[in-house]
Subunit: 65 residues, 6 copies
Amino acid sequence: MPIVTIQQFPRDLAQKRELAQRITQAFVEVYGASEESVQVFFNEVDGESWAKAGTMGCDRSPARG
Amino acid sequence: MPIVTIQQFPRDLAQKRELAQRITQAFVEVYGASEESVQVFFNEVDGESWAKAGTMGCDRSPARG
Amino acid sequence: MPIVTIQQFPRDLAQKRELAQRITQAFVEVYGASEESVQVFFNEVDGESWAKAGTMGCDRSPARG
Amino acid sequence: MPIVTIQQFPRDLAQKRELAQRITQAFVEVYGASEESVQVFFNEVDGESWAKAGTMGCDRSPARG
Amino acid sequence: MPIVTIQQFPRDLAQKRELAQRITQAFVEVYGASEESVQVFFNEVDGESWAKAGTMGCDRSPARG
Amino acid sequence: MPIVTIQQFPRDLAQKRELAQRITQAFVEVYGASEESVQVFFNEVDGESWAKAGTMGCDRSPARG
């Protein structure tokens, strides 16, 4: 522990790489956790597997995000 | 919140669209939640990533569901 | 399957009872799933275990929900 | 219940088949659970969707596992 | 990895202790995973936070399990 | 989205407050996500609900963490 699971839209590897570093660093500095104890899982979902306000992501105008 | 995560067999978009609407409507009417607050995630798994009673889905006869 | 996990604020039993019925009914009518196959888990979190926009729930004014 | 969700690297079907049997058997013998009540979900993630110690799986040398 | 999350009814510590050993042993023998890599999380829910077939656990007769 | 779920040992509110800010800030700066879109859930587990290497947390010497 800690185990971090992120449900998110698909992102490119470079962004996930940077995000994982920053999240791990936050646990090390705020909790004093060891780096090796922090694991981050990216569950990427697209607009056909996510809905908000009753509307599928793929049916939402980009503006409504 | 509320965040709804559904582990299910793959379904077509039209069914997921209708299900997301009905689930969101249930939260609005029963909890008085705002539509915008309700998110639904569909985690679709196939028979090679799910087992019941010790038997992989892909090895189960359709009748046993 | 389907297994439904809901992350939500604590609610009273009567509301959860009605919500579980409506969600199960939606799966039966939209997916043709059997009632017995639908399970719903309520993961209730309070304001000290949830944050939005970088602010803990317990620190957010009710209006910001 | 019980619902078992496993976050793991991809594995071949034969390994998952055997693992599902052994996990189900453990619930039956230790908890006295019925076989039919035990479901196992395999969430397989690759090195581009998992990080440990701030390093993406795909960037870690095999030795560091 | 692997990270195992179990949604289950509350059980006493001795049962969870034995179950964790057997699940870990299964990963070691079937996947060749190192013992240290296997983590098991027990998410215990009671009958007021779980429903099956549209009925809350606390409203189900014990026979229907 | 993104929805962040953290499985961790119990921590005090001040630490969770700071961690939530830093994680949210990381999403805003790395992904360009809006602050309002980021939610963080803390699933706190104690040593009687978590095991590593087949040993319950409550049975592990502190040194083995």
